[in-house]
């Protein structure tokens, strides 16, 4: 590997993608049920006190904090859905705590960006997002 000619000041680490995101949970069976049954993500496998899910090629790792320093809420993850109103209705039906109902967050050049804020079973704030093409 060598530094790129176009960005001589930039490190070339060869990062291709985010392979995994860790989400700290306090009750693994409860969190596993939420990500599997409510969010509908495929459960890949469990290993000890951890559960691994797939979300479009990114692995979500649910598990307890390995040190007090790491025992904090998750980053907000923005899950893409094709129809935000349908997805929002489904979350409501399943009893999920909605933080912010569907709203237009930003009109982009070619689409409107819609989001819904909700909490997972562990109290982490998450979002659904949908890019709605402007006609």
């Amino acid at each position: 590997m060598s530094a790129t000619a176009t960005n001589p000041g930039t490190t070339n680490l060869g990062i291709t993608n985010i392979g995994q995101i860790s989400i700290i949970v306090h009750d693994l069976p409860r969190a596993t049920a939420f990500y599997r049954d409510v969010l509908g993500l495929p459960l890949l496998f469990t290993a000890g006190n951890m559960a691994f899910f797939d979300c479009g090629g990114v692995r979500l790792m649910l598990g307890p904090a390995s040190s007090p320093e790491l025992d904090h809420p998750s980053s907000i993850l923005y899950f893409r859905v094709p129809d935000i109103n349908v997805a929002h209705r489904r979350l409501v039906e399943l009893g999920v705590k909605i933080e912010v109902p569907p709203r237009l967050i930003a009109p982009m050049k070619t689409y409107d960006l819609w989001m819904v804020g909700f909490r997972d079973s562990e109290g982490n704030i998450m979002q659904l997002m949908s890019e709605v093409p402007r006609t």
Binding site: I18, Q20, I21, C55, I76, L128
Partner: protein
Amino acid sequence: MNTQNGTALARIGQIAINAHDVDRATAFYRDVLGLPHLFRAGQLSFFDCGGVRLMLDKAEKPEFDHPSSILYFQVGNIRAAHQRLKDAGAKFEDEPHVIAQMPKYDLWMTFFRDSEGNLLALMSEVPRP
């Protein structure tokens, strides 16, 4: 949620990362991690990482002001990436090591801090011969 009625969570589109100094964090993600900077909108700074948008942001309220989830950045050669990142000034918590032996590959990881103190990792799946 299922795929039949338009509710499927197909993929993660964006991840929010708290930064206390958005300029400093932008420099780190752009110049040290080498991720493509998409655009800046006020106190928000957006990067691309293999199709997932990273949003650097100052926490809006105290409840949100906590470190990021650990994001595991996939690299081809973890030893080389570790060395380059170290040379670029990133603070590492450990050396690259095998964290799990999967059926077909060894999973290598090494943990480091971004400019905001968030714990992040490099990961690499090394096929077993």
